[in-house]
Point group: C2
Chain length 502, copies 2
Amino acid sequence: MTHQPFFYDVTLRDGNQALKKPWNQSEKEIIFNQLVSLGVQGIEIGFPASSDMDFDSCQKLASMAPENVVVSVLARAVENDIVKAAEAVRHAHKPRIHTFIAMNPLGLEHVLKKDIHEVTDIAIRAVRKAKELLPNGQVEFSVEHFGDCRDNLPDVINAIEKVVEAGADVVNLPNTVERFRPLEFVQMVEQVHKRIGGKAIVSVHCHNDLGMATATTVESFFHGASQLETTLNGLGERAGNTDMYQVAVALHNMDVKMPLNMRLFDKTAQMVSEMSHVPIWEKMPIIGGDVLAHRSGIHQDGSNKTKGLKKGQYIAFDPALVGRDDGEYLGFTSQSGKSALREIYENAGYPITLKETEMLMPFAKKMAEQKGELSIEDCDKLYREHLCAVAGPYQYGAFDRIQQGRYVLTYTENGQKKETVGYGYGPVEACVHGLCSLGVAISILDYQQKMLRGEDKEASEAIATIKLAQGNKECICHAIDRSTTQVSIKAIFNGLNQLEKQ
Amino acid sequence: MTHQPFFYDVTLRDGNQALKKPWNQSEKEIIFNQLVSLGVQGIEIGFPASSDMDFDSCQKLASMAPENVVVSVLARAVENDIVKAAEAVRHAHKPRIHTFIAMNPLGLEHVLKKDIHEVTDIAIRAVRKAKELLPNGQVEFSVEHFGDCRDNLPDVINAIEKVVEAGADVVNLPNTVERFRPLEFVQMVEQVHKRIGGKAIVSVHCHNDLGMATATTVESFFHGASQLETTLNGLGERAGNTDMYQVAVALHNMDVKMPLNMRLFDKTAQMVSEMSHVPIWEKMPIIGGDVLAHRSGIHQDGSNKTKGLKKGQYIAFDPALVGRDDGEYLGFTSQSGKSALREIYENAGYPITLKETEMLMPFAKKMAEQKGELSIEDCDKLYREHLCAVAGPYQYGAFDRIQQGRYVLTYTENGQKKETVGYGYGPVEACVHGLCSLGVAISILDYQQKMLRGEDKEASEAIATIKLAQGNKECICHAIDRSTTQVSIKAIFNGLNQLEKQ
């Protein structure tokens, strides 16, 4: 790429004006500071002529701006607006006045009731006035409803050229209402860029009425636009403005060097949602609560097989890139596969083998058919029922320490009561010894015990996993218990019953 | 356009598999019937090999399909899946088996661990098997992860050509994970179309990971794809599949003849949201609760000035097109203008003039700055306070009928108590007569009274609007009261105080 994107955020203007409860000054300052932290290069802070409150707010925000951030205010192409705009923004290090007028045939005829020449003259006067009042600042001029100028595009491009000659530094091309397909808009942007590129910066500002604002913005970047106007969380009039996060990740994926601190995206999105009272849709790209979930078996398997690689088979970006430390998420429903189930257990700290997962699958599927996505509590229940309570001839009774290294074990075998004393350095060794003395010749091949996570639980539990051998038979067995001694002995008995079935 | 879109819906497969609680059979049937009502030409109903439940469900749905709808089931490119698929779908009038395998370098290397030639052979065998088992049906073949095949595209296109030769009727090109910019994908689609167009139908199936699925689908249509795979409400894995409503409205706006019954969109969206437990995001294009709202003054003015025209200045489509009878909506916030305020009053049945609206503006702005978007109750409060309780020298006391056509009126003027008897056919005439007899020479130029809407109110109220003249002064005055007599007299006193100020 020969050009770099200049992110110009309009959350405080276009986003704010569409809120049911627009932000007060202190809220605006929080958003402003967050935009600065994100590394946004330009921030449109308000519309000073719209109210005294807005004027005061713009003055305050302009004075807060760091040296390297362009701060801009909106003004209709009328003298009073421009005078107020200049007054409100002049104390910023890099002030900008953003003035605009519509040039689409519909707007000319029905809203402005003027022809393109009259409107061009108004635009030129506005740009000159802004330049005059803000000699050290920039002037941005927007052709409002540029996306609706298909039928008078040559006239509009002529007008744009004159406005640039009058001093506009940035020409913004809004898709004020998204009516047509992206490529039409993009080709129009390309035509403007061909005429004025080099003399002024070309910018796009897309609304999302048909759901294509991100695409239109991204493609415009590759066709000459370098200033991209976006908002946080896609806020803005109607279906909103182009979402900053989506554009940034898409450009990043296309190997465009990103000026933004993308790791703040997730946190920013949560904050903006809370402050705007506009919830984050669970399926909203990049930031939605559910967009890292995989629920079908095929997706879950592919996701697992490409885990840890630079690129995942079923994920468009590394969640950590946008500050989502939760990462990909496998939900288990009736449509899900064993990869998901196994990963859910492993993530929650339950040791489980592939074979055990396969054994649990029909029970998990049945439960999911009845109640939808399984919670971790549901999975815990299945684990205890099917892996930690193995039925069979052996039933554990009690295991007590008599003295150091000496334990008494009671159990039943096919209903017949048994009692034995086992010796060993620890309880597991003693239990094995006791069983052997009654002819149950087992050995421990591997042993693991750990605390089961589960912060809400009143008392913590231990989970034991033992690899048991008897003759040439082997098995893995588990138990969960609050006692770190009992848990091992119970696991052994689960193992005895399993071995019996082989 | 030389081709028409074929809408192929995957809500029951891709949508359902991503739900936290996938649908049961009766829910699937409701969705299926709704898709038929919408006029969708193809419906993918499930994945028979994934579970017995899914198999049974597919058999049932296939048997319900009307004659003109293609009914399709998913199958991996393995014999067992294809056998089950054929069995599940064979009783449909127009059955189709949709088989697939990944061909992207990442999938070949890490998931399938096979090269493109081996995978091509698998695909060919799968397509042949499907053709053999379903001689009167169609076979659709998907290159899973087509969007990730930039680096081996020539190989993939060769593979596609062989699969078409083996009998595939439809070649579907999924953007299984949206990773790159739309035009790259679209150009790849175009290349496939150039090679196999005429021999097979080209289809696209886009996911929305970066928020560009609608654009990618729409542009693909204009570059050779005629089958468009979409879902209701954009349901689907992660950030979902391409949303049907957005694609349809975008194509409609591009003058493409629409096979769908778009007027059912809004109702369908509400139904799907309820059944899927996935809420409709308030800013979701086309169907979102908030996307017909205009909150800034400039937008509200433009919207009003183009109301009733074929095209609105700030709306991408006629809301009625998609069954939204609520239409455009003007919300009043601190960013809003007088057009909005006036329209809110008029819509709620409050007579108001432009001048009165201007008078209310500062109070409305102040209230909105404090509490956000004004409710109709807030507007009612402002109306009563500022238009129905005009302070001034005249204070109404009482007005009672003594006998037919004879009334006694008491009031104060600058604190001084007055009493008069007025004669008239009705109370208004009698009041005017009574005032005249005390030297307050007024006349009624216009008179209107109506019931104030407000269904929750305990008792209905009347609102009176009177045009009053005194000498060469005129005014409009209002009052609200439960008595249809009192309301008129109170309006006259509001008018007297107004005239006094002129």
